[in-house]
Amino acid sequence: MLRDIYFTVVGFLRTFGALQLFFLRLLVNSPHIFFGRFRLVVQQVQNSGTLSLVIIMVSGFFVGGVLGLQGYSNLARFNAEDSVGTFAAFSLLKELGPVISALLFAGRAGTALASEIGLMKATDQLSAMEMMAVDPLPRVLVPRFLGGVISMPLLAAVFSAIGLLGAHLVGVNLLGVDAGAFWQQMQSTLDMSDVYEGIIKSVVFGVVVSLLAVWEGYNAIPTAEGVGRATTRTVVISAIAVLILDFMITAMAI
């Protein structure tokens, strides 16, 4: 029993340490890939960013719409339905924008990264590169990691912006909140630090989700089952990591 606990703890610490070293290797290799082989990064921004736009925009729009409806019906009890814009902007910019985008990003782009890298490993493509004296880490992993890191904050910003438009559509055009009050209250309440908090969160989530996806793919057991497990683990661990980090960053910002 004690032995089991000991090995679990030690195993966890070893994995965690290996992940940190892996992250460092990615970071060390990032600058020369970004400046030297920018094409590869562009390709990956396309894969994990541009192709995630549809899901992000549709979700953002409806999340914003729901915020408009819920905010209106609850604030109307206090005769404060004019604050629905402030309510939606606060929720979207600081919490829902970065968090939901990160969860969707893990589901849409993270799984794609993990399974792609896992399959490359399972079909011996990574070993073949090593045989040709090409290190797969800078050539395959770093562009994918950078692509995710670049895409995620932009996706979160698109999510929040579209969400605000959705809230405006529901609150102002459907439920009749005054458009001037909607924006004026929002502008007088929010300041730059709220926007920065959202940006910082989305950057951190982008790094974490991309790192975990690349890591899980690279360490997948090279079988069909192993690749499947790597994809699942990517989503599960990313979601947990994002939510815990969200709590920590919020606690630090307050």
């Binding site: 004019d82 902007a89 904050p153 910003a157 405006h168 102002v172």
Partner: protein, 157 residues
């Protein structure tokens, strides 16, 4: 070659869209001007205290929004707040002795400018000034007034 070009184009558009969204969020100034493009005329009113009235706050008459506040400034000579607001030119029959007051929509709501119709034969027009104004009610002042008046009454008893 064709494919690389479309990838680059797509990525460029995506990054631009993301940056535009970021810009929109940072500025948040867009706002939809319900009066934009329509004809308006502007009217001035002076208040001793405007509370937290903001630019773009609604101007309402009988509860219906008929215009927007254009600017809120302080006049250093008369030591009063000068509020300039524009009214939709559809409503050009407002008597020129109407009075303006700064009201609050609900307890937590934002402040707006309310107009109360007067009885004059002449109507407000571009550049005219409202004579009768009532300042914003500051809750703290009300409370302190109430507290002090009730305590002084007790002393008299």
């Amino acid at each position: 070659m064709q494919q690389t070009r479309s990838v680059e184009l797509g990525t460029g558009l995506f990054v631009l869209l993301g940056l535009a969204a970021l810009f929109f969020l940072t500025m948040q100034t867009t706002g939809s001007n319900t009066l934009a493009g329509e004809d308006t005329y502007s009217v001035t009113a002076r208040f001793s205290n405007v509370g937290s009235l903001k630019v773009r706050a609604p101007v309402a008459m009988s509860g219906v929004t008929i215009g927007r506040v254009q600017s809120v400034e302080f006049d250093p000579v008369s030591l009063e707040a000068v509020v300039v607001f524009e009214i939709d030119s559809r409503y050009d029959q407002i008597p020129d002795d109407s009075d303006a007051s700064i009201l609050t929509a609900g307890i937590l709501g934002s402040q707006y400018l309310g107009l109360q119709a007067g009885g004059s034969e002449f109507s407000l027009e571009d550049g005219s000034e409202i004579q009768f104004t009532q300042s914003a009610i500051i809750i703290e002042q009300l409370i302190s007034k109430y507290l002090f008046s009730s305590s002084s009454e007790k002393e008299h008893e």
